[in-house]
Amino acid sequence: MSENRGAFSQRSQQMRRPPLGRGPLGGPGPMGMGTGEKARDFKKTMATLFKYLKPYRVSLIIALFLAIASTVFVIIGPKLLGNATTKLFEGLVGKIMNVPGAGIDFGYIGNILLLLVTLYVISAVFSYIMGYIMTSVAVKVTYDLRKKIAEKINRLPIKYFDNKPFGEVLSHVTNDVDLISNTLNQSMFQIVTSIATIIGVLIMMFTISWIMALVALFIVPISMMLVMLIIRRSQKYFRQQQDFLGHINGHVEEMYAGHNVMRAFNGEEKSIQKFDGMNGELYKSSWKAQFFSGIMMPMMMFIGNLGYVVMCILGGILVIQKTIQVGDILAFTQYIRFFTQPLAQAANMINILQSTAAAAERIFEFLGEKEEVPEPAKPVAIPNLSGAVAFRNIFFGYNPAKTIINNFSADILPGQKIAIVGPTGAGKTTIVKLLMRFYDVNQGAILVDGVDIRELRRQEHRGTFGMVLQDTWLFNSTIRENIRYGRLTATDEEVYTAAKTAYVDQFVHALPGGYDMVLNEESSNISQGQKQLLTIARAVLANPKILILDEATSSVDTRTEILIQKAMENLMKGRTTFIIAHRLSTIRNADLILVMKDGEIVEQGNHRGLLEARGFYASLYNSQFETTAADVGQG
């Protein structure tokens, strides 16, 4: 990935939500309490997510059992250890008191320790198996979701992507899916084990001493309140920090992107001044956010220590009164630590769950989007297509409320050339999109050889068209494979022939590796003109009956432009062609000119007829080719 894309995708990611701050070992780190966004319908989303987990329910139940079992085993530990300590203490006291036959009962202690070793080992094994199962499930669910999203991309109507930035879809595949994966992998069972720990510890504490247990319980509301207090604070500052970070990033991007202009207008001082203002604000919110999120851990540690001390004093007093044993103090000091840990993480976990739900909701929404109109039940096939195209009273608008093509009709004979002209941004590609059935007309029909294109199978219909657009699309593979993309079954020989027709062969041999040269990820290792020739070769190989060409060759040098022109002429021979025209010669030779302005077809006819009509075409033509511009300096 280029740094460029990296930078921007990272930024958009940040804008949408703060980094989750997973710790280096994969666990949620201490910084993990950002301003988590929330799902609109938490329950429904979770229900859907659980549906995805259904195939794994046996594994999940086993994992759940293992999680609880492993927790329980660990929780038994301190109590048994306490017993061993008590025994140790009793033996010792007896010995000092010179009680006859007194001594430390190593047999008893040894047995307890052996039992504990067994428990701990089993617990570790269970915990590992649980982790193993969960990570397998998480990874498989992730794989499934990604696959579904990828397939969905190909089934959605192109229209869907009009309002949906690619970055967002991309973030479904990466960020959103990752978040779900992480939650399944860690947080979900962390919640289970936390609950099991709290309940288990409570039971153990009550069996030892109800007084001490009750005192320990006091810690819960205190720590909860503290946590809530801190979180509310820190979230506020986190949001602020995120905002100011956004502002400052925006300013930096703007200034770096417009560096030349900034310099040309001596804007350095002004820019730095603005930056300083933002930077100061960022600093203020940043340290506060950092500080408040940072005191979470010490606070919880403080509560833990407080509990520890209280348990020591209270336990000591109770021991004197012979209510509990010495070992019980030890057990309690350990339980109190078990107890505060899940409480400290509770807030974090809620945040994680919420952002997971939000991510899942975005994915499910995407997967639930309406797909392309289904294929006709009885598709018509056209053998030996001639290439006649007819528009019959078509109406169309990207937004149904605002039609931009109103009652347009035209008959095009096989082999004719249709030029589409108009200023930049006039919507010249609309016709292309309708022809290819990327969009369906609102009313009327487009016919190919007299057949409504909606009665054809989409695949078959699109197969009769060849498309060479200005926005060349090549992928990260060899030149040969990129050409072969036009017809996957083509032999190497056929690829070379097509390459010759499209003048690719001429430059390919000068490239390192020739046809085997791998285009890099941005296809920036060949020139724009060469890219265009490659897409022409691809269309040649596809050998379509009907062609759609974009003549625009804005960033191509003169010589290559001539090659492209020639290659296009080769390609057009004997085919019905729709050309997004920029060249006068093309326009004048066209059988039909469609003039577009602001998205609408405003005029149609041939060159002579349109000039005589003295309409938009005439003024367009005149302004471009007659008013000479460089009078500018002649005043």
Partner: protein, 738 residues
């Protein structure tokens, strides 16, 4: 990297303070287990009796004890104790004392008369053995203790008191040698249990004493806990301030630096990379810095402190800690050695998955046009499977870590209990010390665990730090001269290129070579040529976005490198190919080059740039907001706004870099007419793709491969310049060119 570390200099004191606070926190945290061990050892086991030296002892008992004390020690004891006797005390004193020691009514009592810690500990050693001997004799083990038959029914002390000093001495020595074989803790415990009986006899409330001791130690623990959190919150506060401050300062340094970069540095780093370095990288460092300030200092302090403390409890068990730490490091080492290379592979697969998805999205139409959805899905499937497999592998290793670490810690505890139990049995350790040792071991292991996390984090932070340092260490290649001159008055806007050659820094080939021409005020000079011929490069040399490699560029007969960049750019109105506008309003953009613009001038610039239609049709007029990247304006509007901005500056030299491409033809014509009158006496340089744009220029310079291949008017060039003809023919038909 050094520069970056130097940036921390203003925070030196804060960092030192953080270190001290962390030290304080660690001391508090480390003292807690120690105190807990005292609660168990003294509070519970010794009934709250801290010292072997009695605080009060009946005179009768004292005389028994003194039997076994040599004469020097005896005098120390008599010095430190005060005899309380009913007869010699005043009435009020007696009333006070009898409350404390009810047995005073029955006989005189010795009271400890010093609070000096060292004196008491001296007394402790003096008293320990004699008290133990006395307690043995009293418990009926006199024979064993003295190695001498004492007749039944006879008070052994009376017998002993009557013995001649020499005989007493031998008995004493024998008892001493017997006791010497006992471990210190047993002596102590024995003495303390004697004291408990004695205190009870005096009538001291032992229960209250015990609870009082616990509350005292407990209170001390609470204070320490409080101290610990105060330290830790202060550290958090300082660390947050230092990190955020460091972030702020570094961010500013980088930004200010980059603002003065020339295009060469932008090319070197790429704009996107500079953005990441100024934003994300700094944010990264800031996060890591907080973590470092809090953990990296704390972990070693805790680790070392824990080791010292643990050794203080009992050195003989230290091998357990060493073994545990080794086991931990070995475990982490193995996992990381297996996992870290895979992490890199995962990153590669994630990139691949991103790439494939991106290709699917950017190629939406092409994919459907060629019906190759299945091909794309297969590509995605491969990337997905690769990623899934590797992730699964890594995760299965990583989930191994947590249970193992837990198991290790638990094993350490069990081992300590087992070994500790034997030590206690042998009397070389007390129960409380064992428990404290346990807690120190856990603290030590935890600090090692924290340190390894730091090592995992470090490489990532180091990359960011490196990237930031690179910017800080790169000086702008174009700087103002040390003694700048000013432009002479009189001439306005005369641009001369004298044999200019240019190549990009580090490149082998010249982009421009031997370029010489003069652009006169009041005239239009056009530069044409194919893509890559060097047109834009040429005009970028005028505002010094780059410096010439050879030759000179003069403005008003002055070399542009001799004046300040500020003065130079004041003379130039630059309209770039891609209209870069800044967020703000229409007005703020027009007035960007000239803050002191009055409304009339803004309107005039907008009128000439054909922008008034838009301004008038917008609800907020000139206050219409311009979004970042001017996303709310069309391409044509952006270019017109960019032209208005240059016009508002009223410069001597205009540079249009293919600036009309997005403006529709009709507006274009109107714009040109208006521009003609405005730019009257200025020098106009136009770079153009379209021949028709330049046909009427006073001078056309034709570039190819960085060389001037034609210079003259349209007519001249049509006759004598092949490149120009070719260019023209590809765009226009013969009759139009005539």
């Amino acid at each position: 990297m050094l520069k970056l570390i130097k940036s921390l200099k203003p925070f030196t004191w804060a960092i030192i303070f953080i270190f001290i606070l962390l030290l304080g926190q660690a001391m508090s945290d480390l003292t807690l287990p120690d105190l807990m061990s005292r609660i168990i050892n003294v509070g519970i086991q010794q009934n709250g009796i801290e010292n072997v030296a009695p605080t009060a002892i009946r005179s009768s008992e004292m005389s028994k004890v003194l039997l076994f004390v040599n004469s020097t020690d005896k005098s120390i004891i008599t010095n430190d104790y005060q005899l309380l006797d009913k007869n010699s005390l005043s009435a009020t004193d007696y009333d006070n004392y009898v409350k404390l020691y009810p047995d005073l009514a029955n006989g005189p009592i010795y009271k400890l008369n010093t609070t000096d810690g060292s004196e008491i500990s001296r007394l402790n050693t003096i008293f320990a053995k004699p008290i133990l001997i006395v307690s043995y004799i009293e418990s009926g083990a006199a024979d064993a203790a003295l190695g001498q038959q004492i007749p039944a029914g006879v008070d052994p002390f009376v017998v002993l008191a009557q013995l001649p000093p020499a005989q007493l001495e031998t008995i004493l020595r024998r008892a001493d040698s017997m006791i010497a074989s006992l471990p210190e803790s047993v002596i102590r415990q024995g003495a303390v249990s004697y004291l408990a009986t004695e205190y009870r006899a005096i009538g001291i409330d032992l229960n209250q004493m015990q609870i009082g001791y616990m509350v005292r130690i407990g209170g001390f623990m609470l204070l320490l806990t409080l101290a610990s959190i105060v330290c830790s919150i202060s550290v958090g506060f300082l660390a947050a301030k230092v990190a955020a401050g460091f972030g702020r300062d570094t961010r500013r340094k980088i930004f200010a630096k980059v603002e003065n970069y020339s295009n060469s540095e932008f090319d070197k780093f790429s704009t996107a990379s500079l953005i990441t370095r100024s934003t994300n990288d700094i944010q990264q460092i800031q996060l890591v810095l907080v973590f470092m300030l809090r953990i990296v200092f704390y972990a070693p302090i805790m680790g070392i402190g824990g080791i010292i403390k643990a050794l203080g409890q009992d050195a003989s068990m230290s091998w357990i800690i060493a073994a545990a730490v080794m086991a931990l490091l070995a475990m982490l080492g193995i996992v990381f050695v297996i996992a870290i290379p895979k992490f890199r592979i995962i990153q590669k697969y994630v990139d691949k998955l991103n790439l494939v998805t991106r290709e699917m999205l950017t190629g939406l139409m092409v994919v459907r046009a060629f019906n190759t959805q299945k091909v794309e899905e297969a590509k995605f499937e491969k990337a997905n499977v690769d990623l899934t497999k590797t992730t699964l592998f890594i995760n299965r290793i990583m989930v191994f870590l947590m249970p193992m670490i837990m198991l290790l810690m638990n094993a350490v505890i069990l081992l300590i209990v087992w070994v500790g139990a034997h030590q206690i049995d042998a009397g070389s350790m007390q129960l409380g010390n064992m428990i404290a040792f346990m807690q120190y071991s856990i603290q030590i292991i935890m600090s090692f665990l924290m340190l390894t996390m730091v090592f995992v984090m470090m490489p990532r932070a180091a990359v960011s730090a490196q990237r930031i340092s690179e910017v800080l260490e790169t000086e702008p290649s174009i700087r103002d001269p040390e003694k700048p001159v000013t432009f002479p008055a009189g001439v306005k806007g005369l641009v001369e290129f004298q044999n200019v050659g240019f190549k990009y820094p580090g490149a082998d080939d010249y982009i421009l070579n031997g370029i010489s021409f003069t652009a006169l005020p009041g005239q239009t000079t056009a530069i044409v040529g194919g893509t890559g011929s060097g047109k834009t490069t040429l005009i970028n040399l005028i505002p010094r976005f780059y410096d010439v490699t050879e030759g000179n560029i003069l403005i008003n007969h002055t070399d542009i490198r001799a004046v300040t960049q500020h003065d130079l750019r004041d003379k130039i109105g630059y309209i770039p190919q891609k209209a870069s506008l800044f967020s703000g309003t229409l007005e703020s953009n027009i007035a960007y080059g000239n803050d002191n613009l009055h409304d009339g001038e803004v309107i005039k610039a907008a009128e000439i740039a054909q922008l008034m239609d838009y301004v008038v049709s917008s609800e907020k007029g000139f206050d219409t907001p311009v979004a970042q990247g001017a996303a709310n304006l069309s391409g044509g509007q952006k270019q017109r706004l960019s032209i208005a901005r240059a016009l508002a500056k009223r410069p001597e030299i205009y540079i249009f870099d293919d600036a009309f491409s997005a403006i529709d033809f009709k507006t274009d014509a109107a714009l040109r007419k208006a521009l003609k009158s405005e730019t009257g006496n200025s020098t106009v340089l136009i770079v153009a793709q379209r021949i028709n744009t330049v046909m009427n220029a006073d001078q056309i310079i034709v570039l190819e491969h960085g060389l001037v291949v034609g210079q003259g008017t349209h007519k001249d060039l049509m006759n004598n310049c092949k490149v120009y003809q070719e260019l023209a023919l590809s765009q226009l038909s013969m009759e139009e060119l005539a």
